[in-house]
Amino acid sequence: MTEIAEEFSTGTGNTRNVDARRHVPGEPSMWFFVIGDLIIFGVYFVSYMYYRGQDQDMFLQGHAKLNLNIGAVNTVVLVTSSLFVALGTAAARAGKAPDALRLFGIALACGAAFPLLKLFEYIPEITAGMTPGTNLFFMYYYVMTGMHLCHVLLGLVILCFVIRNLRGPAKPRISFVETGATYWHMVDIVWLVLFALLYLMR
Protein backbone atom coordinates (compact mmCIF):
# COMPACT_ATOMS: atom_id res chain seq x y z
CA MET A 1 0.00 0.00 0.00
CA THR A 2 1.34 3.41 -0.83
CA GLU A 3 1.94 6.02 1.83
CA ILE A 4 -0.92 8.18 0.59
CA ALA A 5 -3.36 5.29 0.60
CA GLU A 6 -2.29 4.41 4.14
CA GLU A 7 -2.89 7.95 5.27
CA PHE A 8 -6.40 7.90 3.85
CA SER A 9 -7.18 4.53 5.36
CA THR A 10 -5.99 5.44 8.86
CA GLY A 11 -8.38 8.39 8.87
CA THR A 12 -8.50 11.41 11.12
CA GLY A 13 -5.07 11.62 12.70
CA ASN A 14 -3.11 11.63 9.47
CA THR A 15 -5.22 13.68 7.09
CA ARG A 16 -2.98 16.68 7.70
CA ASN A 17 -0.13 14.87 6.00
CA VAL A 18 -2.16 14.65 2.81
CA ASP A 19 -2.91 18.38 2.98
CA ALA A 20 0.71 19.16 3.70
CA ARG A 21 2.13 17.16 0.80
CA ARG A 22 4.31 19.26 -1.55
CA HIS A 23 3.21 22.32 0.28
CA VAL A 24 5.26 25.25 1.54
CA PRO A 25 4.29 25.61 5.22
CA GLY A 26 3.17 29.21 5.71
CA GLU A 27 3.62 32.26 3.52
CA PRO A 28 6.53 31.95 1.06
CA SER A 29 7.50 35.53 2.02
CA MET A 30 8.10 34.38 5.63
CA TRP A 31 10.47 31.73 4.28
CA PHE A 32 12.44 34.55 2.67
CA PHE A 33 13.00 36.02 6.17
CA VAL A 34 13.61 32.64 7.78
CA ILE A 35 16.25 31.61 5.24
CA GLY A 36 17.78 35.11 5.36
CA ASP A 37 17.98 34.93 9.16
CA LEU A 38 19.49 31.45 9.06
CA ILE A 39 22.17 32.71 6.65
CA ILE A 40 22.93 35.81 8.80
CA PHE A 41 23.22 33.72 11.97
CA GLY A 42 25.28 31.20 9.98
CA VAL A 43 27.79 33.94 9.10
CA TYR A 44 28.02 34.90 12.81
CA PHE A 45 28.59 31.26 13.78
CA VAL A 46 31.33 30.70 11.22
CA SER A 47 33.12 33.96 12.07
CA TYR A 48 32.88 33.04 15.77
CA MET A 49 34.57 29.73 15.00
CA TYR A 50 37.27 31.51 12.97
CA TYR A 51 38.12 33.95 15.81
CA ARG A 52 37.95 31.14 18.34
CA GLY A 53 40.75 29.48 16.38
CA GLN A 54 42.86 32.65 16.73
CA ASP A 55 42.82 32.54 20.56
CA GLN A 56 41.55 29.20 21.79
CA ASP A 57 42.70 29.69 25.39
CA MET A 58 40.63 32.83 25.84
CA PHE A 59 37.54 31.16 24.36
CA LEU A 60 38.04 28.03 26.50
CA GLN A 61 38.14 30.21 29.62
CA GLY A 62 35.01 31.98 28.45
CA HIS A 63 33.08 28.72 27.84
CA ALA A 64 33.86 27.64 31.42
CA LYS A 65 32.33 30.81 32.86
CA LEU A 66 28.91 30.35 31.22
CA ASN A 67 25.98 28.86 33.10
CA LEU A 68 25.49 25.44 31.46
CA ASN A 69 22.48 24.67 33.70
CA ILE A 70 20.42 27.64 32.53
CA GLY A 71 21.62 27.12 28.95
CA ALA A 72 20.44 23.49 28.97
CA VAL A 73 17.10 24.26 30.66
CA ASN A 74 16.47 27.01 28.10
CA THR A 75 17.22 24.56 25.27
CA VAL A 76 14.65 22.08 26.63
CA VAL A 77 12.18 24.97 27.11
CA LEU A 78 12.47 26.05 23.45
CA VAL A 79 12.29 22.50 22.06
CA THR A 80 9.18 21.84 24.18
CA SER A 81 7.62 25.07 23.00
CA SER A 82 8.37 24.06 19.39
CA LEU A 83 6.64 20.69 19.94
CA PHE A 84 3.45 22.39 21.15
CA VAL A 85 3.54 24.79 18.19
CA ALA A 86 3.85 21.82 15.80
CA LEU A 87 0.98 19.98 17.55
CA GLY A 88 -1.11 23.18 17.56
CA THR A 89 -0.54 23.65 13.83
CA ALA A 90 -1.72 20.07 13.19
CA ALA A 91 -4.82 20.68 15.33
CA ALA A 92 -5.62 23.93 13.51
CA ARG A 93 -5.27 22.19 10.17
CA ALA A 94 -7.64 19.44 11.33
CA GLY A 95 -10.22 22.16 12.05
CA LYS A 96 -9.96 21.86 15.85
CA ALA A 97 -9.45 25.51 16.72
CA PRO A 98 -10.16 25.17 20.50
CA ASP A 99 -7.49 22.45 20.82
CA ALA A 100 -5.08 24.47 18.70
CA LEU A 101 -5.71 27.45 20.95
CA ARG A 102 -4.82 25.45 24.05
CA LEU A 103 -1.68 23.96 22.44
CA PHE A 104 -0.47 27.38 21.27
CA GLY A 105 -1.18 28.72 24.78
CA ILE A 106 1.17 26.09 26.27
CA ALA A 107 3.77 26.93 23.61
CA LEU A 108 3.54 30.62 24.50
CA ALA A 109 3.94 29.89 28.23
CA CYS A 110 7.05 27.75 27.57
CA GLY A 111 8.45 30.36 25.20
CA ALA A 112 7.92 33.15 27.74
CA ALA A 113 10.10 31.24 30.23
CA PHE A 114 13.11 31.66 27.90
CA PRO A 115 13.71 35.44 28.29
CA LEU A 116 12.98 35.16 32.01
CA LEU A 117 15.67 32.51 32.47
CA LYS A 118 18.03 34.48 30.23
CA LEU A 119 17.67 37.39 32.66
CA PHE A 120 18.77 35.14 35.53
CA GLU A 121 21.78 34.24 33.40
CA TYR A 122 22.76 37.73 32.20
CA ILE A 123 22.43 39.62 35.52
CA PRO A 124 24.94 37.56 37.59
CA GLU A 125 27.33 37.56 34.63
CA ILE A 126 27.21 41.33 34.22
CA THR A 127 27.49 41.98 37.97
CA ALA A 128 30.52 39.63 38.05
CA GLY A 129 32.17 41.91 35.47
CA MET A 130 31.65 39.78 32.37
CA THR A 131 30.43 42.28 29.79
CA PRO A 132 30.71 42.61 26.00
CA GLY A 133 33.88 44.66 26.62
CA THR A 134 35.60 41.88 28.60
CA ASN A 135 37.00 40.05 25.57
CA LEU A 136 36.05 38.78 22.12
CA PHE A 137 34.39 35.66 23.53
CA PHE A 138 31.98 37.70 25.65
CA MET A 139 31.42 40.14 22.78
CA TYR A 140 30.27 37.21 20.62
CA TYR A 141 28.30 35.72 23.51
CA TYR A 142 26.29 38.89 24.15
CA VAL A 143 25.82 39.84 20.50
CA MET A 144 24.74 36.36 19.36
CA THR A 145 22.50 35.55 22.35
CA GLY A 146 21.16 39.15 22.35
CA MET A 147 20.23 38.94 18.65
CA HIS A 148 18.61 35.58 19.33
CA LEU A 149 16.72 37.00 22.32
CA CYS A 150 15.27 39.73 20.06
CA HIS A 151 14.04 36.96 17.76
CA VAL A 152 12.50 35.14 20.74
CA LEU A 153 10.65 38.31 21.82
CA LEU A 154 9.38 38.91 18.28
CA GLY A 155 8.41 35.23 18.09
CA LEU A 156 6.37 35.58 21.29
CA VAL A 157 4.50 38.54 19.78
CA ILE A 158 3.82 36.47 16.64
CA LEU A 159 2.53 33.57 18.79
CA CYS A 160 0.12 36.04 20.47
CA PHE A 161 -1.20 37.03 17.03
CA VAL A 162 -1.59 33.35 16.07
CA ILE A 163 -3.60 32.83 19.27
CA ARG A 164 -5.78 35.84 18.45
CA ASN A 165 -6.32 34.43 14.96
CA LEU A 166 -7.36 31.05 16.42
CA ARG A 167 -9.70 32.63 18.93
CA GLY A 168 -12.02 33.78 16.17
CA PRO A 169 -14.84 34.61 15.70
CA ALA A 170 -13.76 34.33 12.05
CA LYS A 171 -12.49 30.98 10.80
CA PRO A 172 -8.73 30.82 11.55
CA ARG A 173 -6.36 31.36 8.64
CA ILE A 174 -4.22 28.22 8.49
CA SER A 175 -1.54 29.89 6.39
CA PHE A 176 -1.04 32.47 9.15
CA VAL A 177 -0.81 29.73 11.80
CA GLU A 178 1.82 27.97 9.68
CA THR A 179 3.72 31.21 9.10
CA GLY A 180 3.94 31.89 12.85
CA ALA A 181 4.97 28.29 13.48
CA THR A 182 7.73 28.49 10.86
CA TYR A 183 9.18 31.59 12.50
CA TRP A 184 9.08 30.00 15.96
CA HIS A 185 10.83 26.83 14.79
CA MET A 186 13.56 28.97 13.20
CA VAL A 187 14.19 30.58 16.62
CA ASP A 188 14.52 27.06 18.07
CA ILE A 189 17.00 25.92 15.37
CA VAL A 190 19.27 28.96 15.89
CA TRP A 191 19.35 28.27 19.62
CA LEU A 192 20.24 24.58 19.12
CA VAL A 193 23.38 25.68 17.23
CA LEU A 194 24.18 28.47 19.72
CA PHE A 195 23.88 26.04 22.63
CA ALA A 196 26.48 23.75 21.06
CA LEU A 197 28.84 26.60 20.09
CA LEU A 198 28.78 28.55 23.37
CA TYR A 199 28.03 26.03 26.12
CA LEU A 200 29.01 22.56 24.92
CA MET A 201 32.01 22.57 22.60
CA ARG A 202 35.58 22.42 23.90
Partner: protein
Protein backbone atom coordinates in the same frame (compact mmCIF):
# COMPACT_ATOMS: atom_id res chain seq x y z
CA UNK B 1 -5.65 16.77 24.60
CA UNK B 2 -3.85 13.50 25.43
CA UNK B 3 -4.58 12.27 21.90
CA UNK B 4 -2.36 15.05 20.57
CA UNK B 5 0.54 13.93 22.71
CA UNK B 6 0.30 10.47 21.14
CA UNK B 7 1.55 12.11 17.95
CA UNK B 8 4.87 10.82 16.47
CA UNK B 9 6.18 14.38 16.97
CA UNK B 10 6.17 13.72 20.72
CA UNK B 11 8.68 10.91 20.19
CA UNK B 12 10.87 13.29 18.21
CA UNK B 13 10.65 15.75 21.11
CA UNK B 14 11.56 12.98 23.60
CA UNK B 15 14.60 12.11 21.48
CA UNK B 16 15.71 15.77 21.25
CA UNK B 17 15.27 16.24 25.00
CA UNK B 18 17.16 13.03 25.77
CA UNK B 19 20.13 14.22 23.68
CA UNK B 20 20.10 17.69 25.31
CA UNK B 21 19.86 16.31 28.86
CA UNK B 22 22.53 13.65 28.32
CA UNK B 23 25.02 16.15 26.86
CA UNK B 24 24.26 18.45 29.80
CA UNK B 25 24.87 15.66 32.34
CA UNK B 26 28.00 14.42 30.49
CA UNK B 27 29.67 17.83 30.33
CA UNK B 28 28.68 18.76 33.90
CA UNK B 29 30.31 15.56 35.19
CA UNK B 30 33.39 16.25 33.08
CA UNK B 31 33.73 19.85 34.29
CA UNK B 32 33.52 18.69 37.92
CA UNK B 33 36.28 16.12 37.35
CA UNK B 34 38.55 18.71 35.71
CA UNK B 35 37.92 21.16 38.52
CA UNK B 36 38.91 18.56 41.14
CA UNK B 37 42.06 17.63 39.21
CA UNK B 38 43.14 21.25 38.81
CA UNK B 39 42.24 22.49 42.29
CA UNK B 40 45.66 24.15 42.66
CA UNK B 41 45.76 25.96 39.34
CA UNK B 42 42.15 27.05 39.85
CA UNK B 43 43.12 29.86 42.22
CA UNK B 44 46.16 31.05 40.29
CA UNK B 45 44.50 31.13 36.87
CA UNK B 46 41.52 33.17 37.98
CA UNK B 47 39.08 30.32 37.32
CA UNK B 48 39.55 27.03 35.53
CA UNK B 49 39.35 27.05 31.77
CA UNK B 50 37.91 24.17 29.81
CA UNK B 51 40.38 21.91 28.10
CA UNK B 52 40.58 21.59 24.35
CA UNK B 53 38.80 18.39 23.40
CA UNK B 54 38.17 17.52 19.73
CA UNK B 55 36.07 14.44 20.56
CA UNK B 56 33.57 16.46 22.62
CA UNK B 57 33.45 19.18 19.96
CA UNK B 58 32.80 16.78 17.08
CA UNK B 59 30.12 14.89 19.06
CA UNK B 60 28.25 18.02 20.19
CA UNK B 61 28.44 19.69 16.76
CA UNK B 62 27.17 16.60 14.94
CA UNK B 63 24.43 16.19 17.56
CA UNK B 64 23.43 19.84 17.02
CA UNK B 65 23.26 19.23 13.25
CA UNK B 66 21.01 16.19 13.75
CA UNK B 67 18.77 18.08 16.22
CA UNK B 68 18.46 21.05 13.83
CA UNK B 69 17.62 18.73 10.92
CA UNK B 70 14.91 16.95 12.99
CA UNK B 71 13.29 20.31 13.80
CA UNK B 72 13.50 21.48 10.17
CA UNK B 73 12.26 18.21 8.70
CA UNK B 74 9.51 17.23 11.12
CA UNK B 75 8.43 20.26 13.21
CA UNK B 76 8.76 22.76 10.34
CA UNK B 77 7.31 20.14 7.95
CA UNK B 78 9.98 20.70 5.31
CA UNK B 79 9.68 16.92 4.75
CA UNK B 80 6.47 17.66 2.80
CA UNK B 81 7.75 20.84 1.15
CA UNK B 82 8.78 21.29 -2.50
CA UNK B 83 12.28 20.26 -3.54
CA UNK B 84 13.66 23.82 -3.66
CA UNK B 85 12.90 24.34 0.03
CA UNK B 86 14.32 20.95 1.05
CA UNK B 87 17.48 21.69 -0.96
CA UNK B 88 17.86 25.20 0.55
CA UNK B 89 17.50 24.14 4.19
CA UNK B 90 19.70 21.05 3.74
CA UNK B 91 22.28 23.11 1.87
CA UNK B 92 22.37 25.64 4.70
CA UNK B 93 22.79 22.93 7.32
CA UNK B 94 25.53 21.02 5.49
CA UNK B 95 27.47 24.18 4.54
CA UNK B 96 27.23 25.60 8.08
CA UNK B 97 28.49 22.49 9.86
CA UNK B 98 31.17 21.79 7.23
CA UNK B 99 32.52 25.33 7.73
CA UNK B 100 32.27 25.13 11.54
CA UNK B 101 34.17 21.84 11.68
CA UNK B 102 36.60 23.04 9.00
CA UNK B 103 37.55 26.21 10.91
CA UNK B 104 37.72 24.26 14.16
CA UNK B 105 40.19 21.73 12.79
CA UNK B 106 42.16 24.37 10.84
CA UNK B 107 43.05 25.91 14.23
CA UNK B 108 44.34 22.66 15.78
Amino acid sequence: MKAYLRNPLTFVWALLTAVIVSSWAWLTALATDVRKATEETFATMGGAAHHLNTTITVVVLLAAAVKAQLVIWLFMEVRHAPTWLKATTSGWLVALFALLLGFYFAAQ
